[in-house]
Symmetry: C2
Subunit: 101 residues, 2 copies
Amino acid sequence: MDTLICPKFEKAMDLINKRWVGMIVYQLLSGPQRFCTIEGSIGISGRVLSERLKELEQEGIIKRDVFPETPVRIEYSLTEKGMDLEPILKQIEIWSQHWMK
Amino acid sequence: MDTLICPKFEKAMDLINKRWVGMIVYQLLSGPQRFCTIEGSIGISGRVLSERLKELEQEGIIKRDVFPETPVRIEYSLTEKGMDLEPILKQIEIWSQHWMK
C-alpha cells in the first residue's frame, strides 16, 4: 500500500465516513427495501435517513424506484456501485467479530 | 451477510466512521511515524491529530513509543488490532480506484 494518500481514497473515505452510510448500505445488501423498513432496522430518525438516502442517490450508490400502485410503493436498492461496497463492509464485519468486545 | 445489524459491527463502524481515523491508520501502515510526519502527510490540524491519536491508543489500535534520546523521540505505530484494519482500507482503495472520479 502506497504511503501517498490518493485523493480518490480520501473522497471514498469521506463518503463511507459519513454517519449511517455504512449501516444503510449494509441493510440494503439483503435487497430492495422500503423507507420504514430501513428506518426500523437501524434505529435512525426519519429526517436523517431521508437526508442520507438523497445523498446516496446523488452519489449513485442507491436508487429509488417508485411503483405506481395504490398506495404508491417506493423502494430503495443498491446500484452496482453500491453493491461493490460489500467487500468493504464484509471486512469490517470480520474485523469487528475478531476485535470488538 | 446477515440482515440483522450486529452491535459489534455497529461499534466497529462508529470507530472507523470517525473523521481521520482511516487516514491515520492508512498512513501508519507504512511503519512507525512521528507526530509531525503524520500531521504533514494527511493535512490534519495538530490539535485534532493529537486527540485522535489518544483515542486510537485507548482503543488499542495504535501504540506510542517513547525513545529516551536527546531530544526525546516519540513514534506512533499500529498494534496487531490496528494492522488488522489493512484489509478494510485495501478494499476501500480498490473501490475508490474503480468508482471515484
